[in-house]
Symmetry: C2
Subunit: 515 residues, 2 copies
């Protein structure tokens, strides 16, 4: 792992000191995960090499289209690619060698609270909320369009939830905020309401510039130019297309040395072949071309290999989640990213269910656990997804976050210390007795086992006496209590005002442009 | 893998031919799983050796107690163990060498329908229903004592569910059948209502003998003595005790060459140390002693290493399920069984939840998927568990079985054939187009992706129009439909009558004994 850069807190002297004093009021938070356990692999080296050869063949013979962006075509032409119209073809190994020459294997994304900065890549894993839903759901009000109030509520919950390591980006689409203003309000909310790392706007190059500008207000100009403070996701339009919007944002972030995930978005069977092996080759080709572009724009900028690949139902065309093939693709793509030597980003607790029912939980648990065991570094959509990311659920967020915490405990691995081996305890207790009162148990029970915050493990009688609540009913109480107890993390008043000034100035400019 | 024995069907000529003609009416059934994918390992060889050394130390220094069974103590004395009172201590490596000398690495358990026989061990995996719940639950009637009608209903459902490979044993405890009669009625139901393999009674040696006698009526005397037709589980009473009841049944089955699982039942923190490493050493010690006894009773009898290990809540003492530590224990124990060279049996979709809610699904999915990825050969409690096995759920059975089917699809691995690589399709479709109509999709879509029977993947609008049903509501409709459509598998009338005669004769004997 590359040496972590000095944090902005340590650089900024008195201000950082003031901040770190106030951090004591923050809710207890788990740091990002340093995995003490291995990964599960599905394909052997020979199989992975086959996929790589096929991706190379696709890049050489079919190529990628980069639409409506002559600058990008020129960048590729200058680098030696074969550019014909908007189609770019690459000699075997070209993308890989450019990527491997300068892409960091691990980088740190800084958070406003330096204790919550995260390392991305290598043996680290972190859980990030869902991205993109236009609707929200809770069990009392049902499904409805997301409002800015919801966006803020979720950003507060993510601030509190201890195994959610990231504030995310478009955690839901606040429909009551006009589109030109939306990214400004969302970024301000991430910076003000949550002190974990966040994601930048990707819907237009100028919105990416706005994100960078606002990050500089919060982190300082120099700090942002020299450190990663923004994480962004460019989805390719499978098959084999990157459009001007996504590429535009990609260039902005890369030029400012901010992290760019190149994440082919694939509904397998519609946007890729109806097989795992075919889908893998195509998504690797798309990721290679995009990650190559990141390094051509700014060598050394953090580039991340991402995937979002869900098979469609071949009866109805609907996307499906928590499926065997979706998990297979993720296991293999994670191994391909490790072979490439770049961090890997992929999906977590996805479900097609409309409500926080058993389907939602089965599908989410299987995909989330698979993502963890695959060694995904950045697990996006780790909490809250309903309806295939059309809806963000309040109760679902609480329940998923509990499973993130369980996996974080799993990641600590098996303690093989002499104390953990407990041979003395076994000899002391002997056959037929119990361990509840023995010295070893007394010494270790406080830290021994993971404690779920949302599971009911008690007796049927106690559960009945407590109102026979299903888990989503308990989770409903939990998110309301959390919002009641929420405390805004500290922010310098000057920063807070400067953010608002920036937003007002930009809104004025945007209104003059459209007027 | 040892060569599979000739099936009883091929041995029994005309009768088998008549049966196999009728098998056409059976519902579509997935065969047991030949895994095409690898296992996930948590501890490296060094870590596993440490656990083995600790288990050996426990067996040598602390020993196991075999209570109220002088014959067993004599067997161990004759084999060279150190027997003092009921405490038996073993020299380092003694149990292992006795086990490894004669225990089959893989064996076949025969089913009444030879197409449904299963291989246990090696790269095979199968899913078996829950064992032991005194209550049943459905969403309309709630939780209530299990009746024989429930036992029969579940045995019918297990006959139909395609990814459930076993009929199980005490799938629930029929409280309306007197205890002395209960095992007879349950075994008769397994044989009559379900043509998959089944488990034998273990609550008393004479009930084990009854199981063998009834199996002989169904399979033929000679066939049973020469082939495994019954699978049985002996739970040790952790820590480090095997009692006369369990050992008594173990001896009966081993003497008849039927399969015996030695499965330490451990609530970690109460019945074992409050650590994963300590629990692993203890359970390995218990399994080694029990599996050694199986081989001493009858060398070559199928012995299986089993575990049931759930951490307790250290706040309330309640068992917990789907936990990080429970999964860690299972991953490591599976690796220990592979090193020992015997088949491995462990738990699947366990939950503490009282209802088929999200908690039930999260916990069940994570433990079931972990069991599968751990390489467990015989996954018990793969369907139906609620309330930590106090309750068997109708809807839960349907939903869990769907996840078993998903894992069975995952187990097929990634097809790397030229057709699956789909390079021609990728070239044909090209950038920006879709694959829905291309030749490759047309050729492959029927078999391409797993289809869930219980997930709703459609639009919110369609789901609303269909009644906005949660998964447990759809599952309620499914089990009722299945019971309506159920057809009893064929059985020779003479066998059916002989089973009833046997039951009546035994009931008469038992009534005279108690009178």
């Amino acid at each position: 792992m590359s040496k972590a850069p000095q944090t902005h807190a340590t650089r900024r002297g008195g201000r950082a000191a003031r901040r770190s004093k106030r951090v004591g009021t923050a809710p207890p938070q788990l740091p990002f995960i340093h995995r003490q356990v291995g990964v599960y692999t599905l394909l052997d080296e020979e199989g992975l090499e086959l996929i790589e050869r096929n991706a190379d063949a696709i890049l050489k013979e079919v190529g990628m289209e980069f639409r409506d962006d002559p600058e990008v075509l020129q960048i590729f032409r200058d680098a030696g690619a074969d550019v014909q119209g908007e189609r770019v073809r690459f000699e075997t190994g070209m993308c890989r060698s450019i990527i491997q020459a300068t892409t960091p294997r691990v980088f740190r994304q800084h958070a406003r609270n330096p204790d919550r900065s995260v390392d991305i890549g290598g043996d680290s894993t972190l859980f990030c909320p869902s991205f993109g839903p236009p609707f929200v759901h809770d069990i009392e009000r049902g499904r409805r369009y997301a409002l800015m109030e919801d966006f803020e509520n979720f950003t507060r919950l993510h601030h509190i939830l201890p195994a959610v390591h990231h504030s995310g980006g478009v955690v839901c689409e606040p429909q009551d905020v006009p589109v030109p203003e939306r990214h400004l309000r969302m970024i301000a909310a991430h910076l003000r309401l949550n002190d974990k790392p966040f994601m930048g706007a990707v819907t237009a190059p100028e919105r990416a510039e706005d994100t960078v500008a606002m990050a500089k207000i919060a982190f300082g100009h120099e700090f942002v130019e020299n450190n990663c403070c923004i994480y962004s996701v460019s989805n390719s339009n499978a098959p084999l297309v990157l459009d001007a919007t996504m590429v535009g944002a990609l260039k902005v972030y890369a030029r400012h040395n901010q992290a760019v995930v190149v994440s082919p978005f694939i509904l397998a069977g519609a946007m890729s072949p109806v097989t795992v092996a075919g889908t893998l080759a195509q998504l690797l080709a798309e990721a290679l071309a995009g990650l190559c572009l990141v390094q051509l724009v700014r060598p050394g900028a953090p580039g991340v290999f991402g995937t979002f690949a869900s098979p469609i139902s071949l009866q109805t065309g609907a996307p499906t989640f928590g499926t065997p093939e979706g998990m297979q693709i993720q296991f293999c793509a994670s191994a391909l990213a490790r072979r490439l030597g770049v961090p890997f980003h992929s999906v977590g607790a996805l479900t097609a269910s409309k409500v926080p029912d058993a389907q939602a939980a089965y599908e989410s648990a299987m995909q989330l656990q698979a993502a963890f065991l695959a060694g995904v570094n950045f697990i996006i959509h780790a909490t809250g997804c309903l309806e295939g990311l059309l809806t963000l659920g309040y109760e679902k967020t609480i329940m998923d976050a509990d499973r993130c915490a369980a996996l974080q405990a799993f990641a600590q691995g098996v303690d093989l210390s002499s104390e953990a081996q407990a041979l003395d305890a076994i000899a002391e207790v002997g056959p037929g007795n119990h361990y509840l009162g023995c010295d070893h148990t007394q010494r270790n029970f406080e830290t021994a086992f993971f404690r779920s915050e949302t599971a009911d493990n008690g007796t049927f009688e106690q559960w009945s006496a407590d109102g026979s609540k299903w888990q989503h009913e308990r989770a409903n109480e939990t998110w309301k209590r959390m919002l009641n107890e929420y405390e805004r993390p500290p922010m310098d008043e000057a920063v807070d005002e400067a953010l608002e000034d920036f937003i007002q100035r930009r809104l004025g400019e945007l209104s003059r442009q459209s007027g």
